[in-house]
Amino acid sequence: MKRPRAIILRGTATNCDIETASSFRYVGADPELVHINQLLSGEKKVLDYDLMAFPGGFSYGDDISAGKIYAVKMSKLSGDFGKFIRGGRPVIGICNGFQILVKTGFLPENPRNAQVSTLYTNDCGHFLAKWVKLKVNRKSPCIFTRGLPDEIELPMAHGEGKFIVEDKAELARITSGNLHALTYSENPNGSMLDIAGIATPSGTCFGLMPHPERNFFSWQSPDRPAAAREAEAAGFHFFKNAVDYVR
């Protein structure tokens, strides 16, 4: 079977690029780490790939606000990114990657391609790293969460994860379309409607704050060996689903 090509986007202080690439490799994709500078110089082209991931980290130090500088750098290439995303090729943004997708206006999807929401400083006022339980919205069109059980566990690690949408119509669009594919069972950061991750209506572009690549294998769980019935854990399915979708 053909191995889909996955572009793993990085820049200065993209920290989770290697484990995200390894996760895609494990489920049968061919990942390639590509620096935003290589896209801006024309050395690499976004549209040459089948899958795209924005990994976690602190891109450009999260100066100004999380993901903002990376989003600004992407704006010169918004044509290519727009074609990729709206063309239905799978895109996942994890943590800082989700923050980038929100700051570029790709998530939540809207006709003006404008930033309609934000991920703001956690209610506790600082960075928080812990394991959280998440409810999976079975009605969501999101392709990444297909087939997952009703509740899963993933670690989160962020300072700015409070999902806020000011416009009620935009929020209604999310809930009516079941775009909120993942919600926190116990809200750790003050997100509206406990939202942890949202997708586009097509379900192919998905951003989430928790880290599926860190609960990819059962031995990455803090509750061991109780969680170790199978080698692969909840996070594995996010990546597998994307590769299966492309095939």
């Binding site: 200065t12 989770c16 484990e19 390894s22 450009y60 690690a157 880290h211 803090p222 509750d223 109780a226």
Partner: protein, 745 residues
């Protein structure tokens, strides 16, 4: 030239005290050392002569073999950043983390960091002692330090997953901040050699006026006029750029040597790299943060995130391309000529012109006097507690040196790189206190089918050191090794590091503490077969208090330990797993409440320190490791601060199960009281949950060892303990956990 010599010969850079001559007077006997460090710490490593030690004491970090592939080495280093954190906690902690990461980047031809560790000592947050005007409160220091470690470590993408917190008013004026880093390095990249003709290339951050005199300031007592401009300003993102560049350039073989700019800045980094070849430096080529800077300031500035590379001229273009692709700044400062001369110029002006041989060999050193500190020790049987036993247990669980560290740990990204398999917070609810971090460095090896990992733990007991510095060293090494064992690591291959902090070495009692602790380090390292691979020391941790008196920190020795884990999927955690499983205690309890948390909270009438039997401990641990490897053990947790009662409580509430315990079979020294058994901190003891249907095999493997069944895990969430007929306490695990799970910050 004077500045160069001041930096190079400072206590901070040369460690004159520890590697100098000492005359130790113990009663009427006098013992002389020509080089204390070589005759204790280094002696142990040389005696053990382990072939898996790939590089010790010579480079920026120690390196041991990693994994079974033969391809990797594990570099490990810990140091302190005490003085900066006392005057500017946030900046001091940030640059402490940044500095030790650069040590790992600058070992051999560069290792990839996979774990950060941190251990802090602060004054009690509830301290009522009056502070002098210039001193910051313990809470302010703690908040600043935690935030500094958080903001730097998280940004750079290295998990902070091991360490500790210790509160004692001895650290009120002089907090201690130990930072460590471990990284993976290919075995064919562990040697560096500057080739004459190579260019001196500085990559990463720019040079500014921050951190002038850091090395010399760290080699003196903190006083009112101490300036926070001696503390550098950190910028994690610049260091991440340098990291990304170095890993690519290393694998392409683009440079012959690398080291970090730490204390002393260019002067010590270039001075070290060029110690044989000499160096020709043109300071006007340096990229600057501030144009008003003086040439001597450029030379000694400790601005952060700078690495010095020795680059063959033909490779500069390729290196520059990588630097540009990662937006990492660089400058070519000069070359290594091969004439053994250090010549530094700025424009046409000569700034330094010295023979390297004088700079590195000329340091004068004097014999320091040392005496044994007189301490009154009472070995009378301890007084029984006034409160009920259950209330004592609850007080101990809530003690700042015992209670949960979650409010600090959760501020650190302890799982970035996806390899933190043994977690600082573990168990059924993900909040139990892990004994050791276990790292599966898959983001460095890029091999998810290689399940080799390594465990990291610490041992630290300054309360014991106040009474008996020799036993402190033994207890600390024992605790670190025991913690590794609790995770199921191969403890026969433990490598350790010593980090000493002490007050002024001009005080013979301080030197006496140091001598005794160093002797303990040597003896314990040899007994446990655990060589020292690196270490560091920090002196002059003393200040003048509000009352005009001099306050010294207690002698403080942090032992950091690492051992390999054959398969990270099989490691042990501390929480009880299954009702019906038998609970065992391994190791014999010894008399003495000295150095215990209990003795700090109540008058015990006894401050004797239990004398560790190292030979017995090593035999016990070897048997236990066989039982663990055979799959007989479901959970293991060491008995340390707070004693056996705390160990049992933590195992119970981390698993959500209770236990019925009868201590009458617990091995103990004759005449030991119930207080000593339950809340004494006698070393070399562990509590184990044994898998019920493997119990016979467990007993066979533990034959002849002091291990005894003391009860069972129960479904009901009650922890009950008795000694013979009398019940000591019966407490709800939810209530015990509530006492323990305090928000420290």
């Amino acid at each position: 030239e004077l500045e160069t010599i001041a930096q190079t010969w400072s206590e901070h850079c040369k460690h004159k005290t520890f590697s100098g001559p000492v005359a130790f007077r113990d009663g009427k006997k006098v013992r002389k050392y020509r080089n204390l460090f070589k005759e204790t710490i280094v002696k142990a490593t040389k005696t053990l002569n382990r072939k898996w030690c790939l590089s010790v004491f010579t480079d920026n970090a120690g390196i041991v073999e990693f994994g079974k592939s033969g391809k990797w080495g594990l570099a490990f280093k810990a140091e302190t950043h005490n003085h900066p954190c006392a005057v500017e906690p946030y900046g001091g902690a940030e640059t402490g983390v940044g500095g030790v990461i650069r040590d790992i980047l600058g070992v051999g031809l560069g290792a990839k960091p996979v774990l950060n560790t941190d251990t802090f000592c602060f004054g009690r947050l509830d301290s009522d002692k009056k502070l002098p005007k210039h001193a910051l409160s313990a809470e302010r220091v703690m908040r600043g330090v935690v935030e500094g470690v958080r903001d730097y470590g998280n940004r750079i993408g290295i998990p902070t997953a091991a360490g500790g917190l210790y509160f004692d008013d001895g650290y009120l004026l002089n907090p201690l901040v130990y930072v460590g880093c471990a990284g993976l390095i290919p075995v064919d990249k562990i040697h560096k050699r500057v080739v004459p003709g190579d260019l001196i290339v500085c990559i990463g951050g720019r040079t500014g006026r921050d951190g002038i005199h850091g090395a010399t300031f760290s080699s003196a007592n903190i006083e009112e006029e101490t300036s926070s401009s001696a503390v550098q300003i950190g910028h994690a993102v610049n260091e991440k750029k340098a990291l990304d560049v170095l890993m690519r350039a290393r694998d392409l073989g683009l440079y012959n040597a690398v080291t970090d700019c730490g204390a002393g800045g260019f002067s010590s980094a270039i001075g070290e790299l060029g110690s044989e070849t000499g160096a020709r430096v043109r300071l006007e080529k340096a990229l600057l943060k501030d144009t008003r800077i003086e040439p001597w300031e450029i030379w000694v500035s400790e601005s952060q995130e700078r690495m010095i590379l020795s680059v063959p001229k033909r490779n500069l273009k390729k290196l520059a391309a990588i630097l540009d692709s990662e937006n990492c700044e660089y400058c070519v400062l000069g070359e290594f000529p091969g004439d053994g001369r250090l010549l530094v110029t700025h424009g046409g002006e000569r700034v330094v012109d010295l023979p390297m041989a004088f700079l590195h060999g000329g340091v004068p050193n004097f014999e320091k006097p040392a005496v044994r500190r007189p301490v009154k020790v009472s070995s009378k049987p301890p007084v029984s507690p006034r409160q009920p036993w259950g209330a004592v247990l609850k007080d101990l669980l809530a003690h700042p040196n015992v209670c949960s560290r979650h409010s600090v740990i959760t501020q650190y990204d302890h799982e970035v790189q996806g390899g933190t398999v043994g977690k600082p917070l573990q168990g059924r609810y993900g909040d139990g206190p892990g004994d050791a971090a276990v790292i599966w460095p898959q983001a460095a090896t890029l091999d998810q089918r290689d399940f080799c990992g390594f465990a990291v733990s610490h041992g630290f007991s300054p309360a014991v050191g106040r009474i008996d510095p020799y036993q402190m060293a033994l207890h600390s090494i024992d605790e670190a090794v025991r913690n590794l064992l609790c995770a199921g690591a191969e403890m026969s291959r433990t490598a350790i590091m010593d980090n000493f902090c002490a007050a002024s070495p001009r005080d013979p009692r301080v030197m006496g503490d140091l001598v005794l602790a160093a002797e303990g380090c040597r003896d314990a390292a040899i007994a446990y077969g655990a060589p020292f691979i690196s270490g560091k020391d920090s002196f002059y941790n003393q200040s003048t208090g509000a009352d005009g008196r001099e306050y010294q920190i207690p002698i403080s020795l942090l032992v950091s330990a690492t051992a390999p884990v054959d398969d990270v999927r099989d490691i042990l955690t501390i929480n009880f797993k299954e009702p019906g499983n038998p609970v065992y205690i391994a190791g014999s309890a010894l008399k003495g409440m000295g150095g215990s948390v209990y003795a700090e909270t109540a008058a015990a009438g006894n401050n004797a320190v239990p004398k560790l039997d190292m030979k017995a401990a090593v035999k016990l641990y070897a048997a236990l490791l066989r039982a663990i490897k055979a799959g007989c053990v479901a959970a293991a947790h060491d008995v340390s601060q707070g004693g056996l009662g705390v160990t049992l409580a933590e195992m119970a509430f981390s698993g959500g199960f209770g236990a019925e315990i009868d201590l009458s079979a617990a091995p103990r020294e004759k005449g030991l009281t119930a207080l000593e058994l339950l809340f004494g901190e006698s070393p070399a003891r562990l509590v184990l949950e044994v898998v019920k249907d493997r119990e016979a095999e467990f007993l066979r493997l533990m034959k002849g060892q002091p291990a005894a069944e003391i009860g069972q895990v129960t479904e009901e969430g009650m922890l009950a303990a008795g000694d013979g007929g009398a019940e000591l306490f019966r407490e709800d695990i939810v209530a015990l956990k509530a006492c323990w799970k305090r928000e420290l910050i």
